[in-house]
């Protein structure tokens, strides 16, 4: 008897639940769709949406904080020191720029959109925009170069800084010499007992 009730129970249950399910799908046949026609219609992105990175080079001071914060090392920054006579301008927040940034590459193919580079930036010049359509056929096109310096500018900056470095090095040597002499003189005056070797013949 039990088996018979189960048998007919199964059949009625199947018919019942199938019709309930059909009711649900039938209802949905006439509910408006939730999808949108993507390339022609676009969803409004929220303010905080994190998509492609952008660097506002006018504000970049070349501090390398973003590159350090990046967990996938997708930011490549090179810097050249500026000479005191160079005026690199100031950032929008009023900070004086002290470094040339000849290379500021972001490999957006590597980027994991975590946003960790955005927070440490002192001038808020690196941020995530709401651009999300930037597919490319060649992977190399995904390496974005934000630096604005032309090769000529880079060369002059390098020459300048080399010159400056040489000058400072020379100055340093001279200063060191002066200091050494002074020290020797001092030593000679205070500790006459210990014989002193001159560091360098004049």
């Amino acid at each position: 008897m039990n088996a018979i009730t189960e048998y007919f129970g199964n059949i009625t249950q199947s018919l019942k639940t199938i019709s309930i399910g059909m009711g649900v799908t039938f209802k949905h046949l006439f509910t408006p769709a939730v999808t949108i026609q993507y390339p022609t219609v676009k969803m409004k992105l929220p303010e905080r949406s994190r998509n492609r990175l952008y660097v506002n080079m006018d504000d970049c001071i070349g501090c390398d904080q973003c590159s350090k914060a990046c967990p996938v090392n997708c930011i490549e920054i090179e810097i050249i020191k500026s000479t005191p006579e160079d005026d690199l301008g100031i950032t929008s927040s009023g900070q004086k720029k002290k470094l040339h940034v000849p290379v500021f590459n972001i490999d957006i193919a590597k980027c994991c959109y975590c946003g960790l580079c955005v927070y440490p930036c002192p001038t808020e010049c690196i941020y995530m925009t709401n651009v999300y359509e930037f597919s490319e056929f060649d992977r190399n096109n995904l390496i974005y170069n934000f630096a604005k310096m032309t090769p000529a500018e880079i060369e002059t900056a390098q020459i300048k800084v080399k010159k400056m470095d040489e000058e400072t090095a020379a100055k340093k040597v001279a200063a060191a010499l002066v200091a050494a002499q002074a020290k020797a003189a001092l030593d000679a005056t205070t500790q006459t007992s210990t014989p002193q070797q001159p560091t360098e013949p004049q």
């Binding site: 048998y7 059949i11 199938i18 399910g21 059909m22 649900v24 799908t25 039938f26 949905h28 046949l29 006439f30 509910t31 408006p32 769709a33 939730v34 999808t35 026609q37």
Partner: protein, 349 residues
């Protein structure tokens, strides 16, 4: 109509070829419409909109699909049995196409006015299983083989309830001729066998519940015969990837696809002829004859095609043993009991 074609081409095989090609005129546009219908129905059930870009609301998309399939590379796996691999889709299609020979599209057109129409139908539709087995074996893919074997078991099992249902209909109608079967029900909606057939009221009322059960049996069995959810275990994309047609691509795949949709209409048409008056208008002689017949036949057929689509996108899939359970332990006994009761009613009243 057939005589007319034959007289146009006397003593020539050309006439027969043209007769053979007539159902194709129906199947090809029908397949395009059904693909579109299926996509749109499934999408709207799931709160989507399906294709919208090619033409108005994506109406040209089926053409684009066919164009794509035509120019797609035709891949034959190296380890496949080439001969059987190539032959299989055509056998599947032939099995399906052969059923169209006895479908009474209008009161004046039927491919072959066989006296054994229903019997022929049951017989010839099993041919599909040969093609499916062939494709599964020839693909030399274990998953395909599973699909093919499942399909064979399934189609063979579900022939039996179908045959029993059709037998009951034959008992009531006294004919196996599809055209005569439609003719018997042509007196409007109340003459349809689903509502008890053209009989006196007492007999009609007695037959009505039995016919309803038989109709449900036929609907379920027909769904199983076309391998569609909830009976799509030979394809079962989440278990067998794509079943017997996994390895097929390009036009061969398209032929499988076409055969599936053609078969869908064929089984719906059988249901229509057996229970819903074939080409008969629901209003008796009003809106009947000529093109109206075709209109009603296709409309009723498409209605059942839609029900199939509707069920497909609602239900989960059965398991192999449950499928057999449904066939042997539910549908067959019910159909058998109904048949015996119908026999009794026919004799007693």
């Amino acid at each position: 109509m057939i005589d007319w074609i034959l007289t146009q081409f006397p003593d020539s095989i050309l006439g027969y070829i043209i007769i053979c090609a007539v159902p194709l005129l129906f199947i090809l546009p029908y397949a395009l419409v059904t693909i579109y219908l299926e996509m749109k129905m499934s999408a709207h059930m799931q709160d989507r909109v399906a294709y919208m870009r090619t033409g108005w609301h994506g109406t040209l998309q089926p053409f684009a699909d066919i164009l794509k399939l035509l120019q797609k590379e035709d891949i034959i796996p190296t380890a496949a049995d080439k001969f059987l691999f190539i032959l299989a889709p055509y056998i599947v299609f032939i099995g399906t196409y052969a059923t169209f020979a006895v479908l009474p599209f209008t009161s004046s057109y039927i491919g072959s006015d066989l006296d054994l129409g229903l019997f022929y139908l049951v017989a010839v539709s099993s041919l599909v299983v040969v093609g499916i087995l062939m494709s599964g074996w020839a693909s030399n893919n274990k998953w395909s083989l599973f699909g093919a074997l499942r399909s064979a078991a399934q189609i063979v099992s579900y022939e039996i309830p179908t045959a029993l249902v059709l037998l009951s209909i034959v008992m009531i109608a006294g004919t196996m001729n599809m055209q005569q079967l439609s003719q018997l029900q042509s007196g409007g909606i109340s003459d349809w066998y689903i509502f008890g057939g053209p009989f006196p009221i007492v007999k009609k009322l007695l037959l009505l519940p039995l016919m309803f059960i038989l109709f449900l049996v036929q609907l379920t069995a027909s769904m199983a015969e076309v391998n569609r959810t909830p009976f799509d275990i030979p394809e079962a994309e989440s278990e067998l990837v794509q079943g017997y047609n996994t390895e097929y691509s390009g036009m061969k795949f398209a032929i499988f696809y076409l055969a599936e949709y053609a078969n869908l209409f064929a089984v719906s048409a059988i249901t229509v002829v057996a229970f819903f008056g074939g080409w008969g208008s629901p209003f008796g002689s009003f809106m009947s004859g000529g093109v109206w017949d075709l209109f009603w036949f296709v409309l009723k057929g498409m209605f059942f095609v839609s029900i199939n689509i509707w069920l497909r996108w609602t239900l989960p899939r059965l398991r192999v043993d449950q499928l057999m359970y449904v066939s042997w332990k539910v549908l067959t006994p019910f159909a058998l009991v109904c048949m015996i009761l119908i026999g009794y009613i026919l004799v007693a009243f």
